[in-house]
Symmetry: C2
Subunit: 402 residues, 2 copies
């Protein structure tokens, strides 16, 4: 399938906005809105953390009702999590105000928050900002919306693709945020996607789950799964294609395109990981099952010793073998093979003789490192995408908040 990639986003029938309403003391953007001209089919995936923000539980309830959605409102700078009943009241108040300003029903609005946990949401600032936000709605403002949802992120994250379905042009695009508290367990950050495709709710939910499983759920910055994570998608049907249903060829094409958008957005999150200086792919091969490969890849990717070795451009494979042995998955240490950026360094669990350390160290200094771990136990494989752990991660997270 031919995909037309773009770093900017415009989706027919969608208008967006991003403004500063004063939640962030720095005065940068902290409020975003995505609005669909037409009632849109909606789907979402949510954090598996037992501690869920009101925005998560509220959206789950709204999506369960199955009716069309018109808008998503997002604030950054405050997670509105661990805020008890007042937090839920604040969440509803924001939704009601958005609905009023847009002239739509209350149950047509989804909501998300990100930022500090446990601080009451400054709801009056959001209510003050909402008329400005709706006034700024434009089909060309995705970058402003992308800025409005950031916390410790350094860059806004946007991506869109176009492809043809029958004779109709389908666009899928969106924005994401995430830099710390990033680990693969359902949605592990915020992502908001939009498409002009006509697609059934069942097909949209299934396509989103498939796309997220291979992309957002495969990344980790620090092994932390947040209270507010979600990925939402709205499909407004404006492309006027034959409705996509599960199991069709069009479904596969749509899922492929959606996965491409999610992959790029998730990679942007890893590359913008707090303090990250390297983008690292941990590819576990030769596993007995995909689940084994996932667990092992995540264990290696979240190892502090592996992450700091990567920061130091140190090919310290011993730490990798040690992490593999400690993951709770049965392996045969003397069968393990390891390669760094295509250079084999371990076979049968032992270092190969005659490795050029000079050559190896040069490979480790690349900004992108691929580590292939072959267990030689089966045929399953799974990639995990991560970053190194640098001084800046510590600085950012020792200074953030209070």
């Amino acid at each position: 399938m031919k995909l037309k990639n773009s770093k900017s986003v415009t989706i027919p029938g969608f208008k967006v906005a991003g403004i500063a309403c004063g939640i962030k003391a720095s005065g940068i953007k902290d409020l975003a809105l995505i609005y669909s001209d037409l009632p849109a089919v909606a789907a979402g995936v949510f954090t598996k953390n037992q501690v869920k923000a009101p925005s998560v539980t509220l959206n789950e309830t709204i999506l369960d009702q199955g009716h069309p959605i018109r808008a998503i409102v997002v604030n950054s700078g405050n997670a509105n999590a661990c805020t008890g009943k007042p937090g839920m009241v604040h969440c509803r108040t924001v939704i009601e105000s958005v609905a009023k300003h847009l002239g739509i029903a209350v149950n047509e609005v989804l909501v998300a928050s990100t930022g500090v946990i446990g601080v009451p949401l400054p709801v009056e600032k959001i209510l003050y900002g909402l008329p400005h936000l709706t006034r700024h709605l434009s089909s060309k403002s995705w970058e402003f919306a992308a800025e409005g949802i950031l916390t410790t992120d350094l860059v806004p994250k946007m991506k869109s693709v176009e492809f043809t379905l029958g004779k109709k042009k389908i666009s899928i695009g969106g924005i994401a945020k995430g830099s710390g508290m990033i680990a693969p367990n359902m949605a592990t950050m915020l992502g908001f996607l939009a498409t002009n495709a006509s697609i059934s709710k069942a097909a949209l939910q299934k396509a989103l789950a498939l796309a997220v499983g291979d992309t957002f759920n495969r990344i980790t910055v620090d092994g932390e799964c947040s209270t507010n994570d979600m990925v939402l998608i709205l499909a407004n049907g404006k492309a006027d294609n034959t409705e996509i249903t599960p199991g069709s060829k069009a479904f596969d094409q749509f899922t492929e395109a959606l996965t491409a958008v999610c992959r790029d957005l998730s990679f942007m999150i890893v590359k913008d990981g707090e303090g990250a200086s390297k983008f690292v792919t941990i590819l576990v091969e030769g596993a007995k099952s995909r689940e084994d490969a996932e667990v092992l890849g995540k264990r290696v990717a979240n190892s502090l010793l592996v992450k700091t070795a990567l920061f130091g451009a140190d090919p310290n494979w011993g730490r990798i073998v040690c992490a593999l042995g400690d993951a709770g998955v049965s392996i045969k240490p003397d069968k393990v093979e390891i390669a760094f950026n295509g250079m084999a360094i371990v076979k049968d669990g032992m270092p190969l003789p005659d490795i050029s350390m000079a050559k190896l160290k040069k490979k480790m200094k690349c900004r992108e490192v691929e580590i292939v771990l072959n267990l030689n136990l089966g045929k399953a494989s799974c990639p995990t995408y991560t970053c190194d752990l640098s001084y800046d991660y510590v600085r950012i997270n020792a200074e953030y908040t209070t």
Copy 2:
């Protein structure tokens, strides 16, 4: 029971030594020996990592045979792990040479290694050093032995206690090493203990398992469980007390004293944790089971976001609640209570009103921080001991090795 505590170690009937044999390029001590005048009952606990160094598998085999032990030889600067069959041959060669120099049987020697993984053991340096090592054996050299087993540790770790059993004076003491790659999963570092008590093998093994379960297994620096971890104890019976057997009052007294030694040694490891600036106790209370409390305590203690917040003296309890919710153990978020150094800050999962941030921040700046997490679900509790994550952890582990 009255325990006489000491920071130095002398155990009747034991001689020890520590020297530099050239494994460490820096020329500091890297070889240690513990020798018992009398055949000693021995017990050990070992790493649960599937990737085990030859020293671990060899000791497990020797201890299974059940005969008395006379010596423990330890090198630092090289873990002799992931070194394949040559690694096992090297391990046996060292044991044979120690036995020859001491005039004891080969199966009376235990062995341990710690340092870099995957580099062939420079066995010729150890063999060259052994005659010097045995010549330096002395009952007063425990500090030198403690120095000989260190890697990234900043300080040697020693401790002993004395107590009276009947009319006999019992001494228990030992040394430990550990600074990084420290997480609670059986023994998570090296520890070598000695006692003059007369005790059955079954009682010694049981007492060691109990003591380690409450001490070494409750600490974590970075969530990494190494390939070489072990705690060994030798009991030479020189005190001439009635042999201690499981289930007796004497057994409980011995276990209490042994636990006191292990607790102090394990706390020394946390305080000397790589880059550590704080000693942190995470006490999970009100859990349904001790296992739940262990898992939750470990999850919070290993959270990068919690550790960096502690480094920044930031009372960021939201990160703690987030980690609790992500530990795979069922909790009720709205029942959680949190206190920092005795100051209650969260009740019913929400921040208490009127908290003095100034007072709280002052508490967070203490070198010792106790965080009590009450789940209000049951009566079980468990402490986990950890440290913060600082720039120096990253520096040490980005620079270590190659």
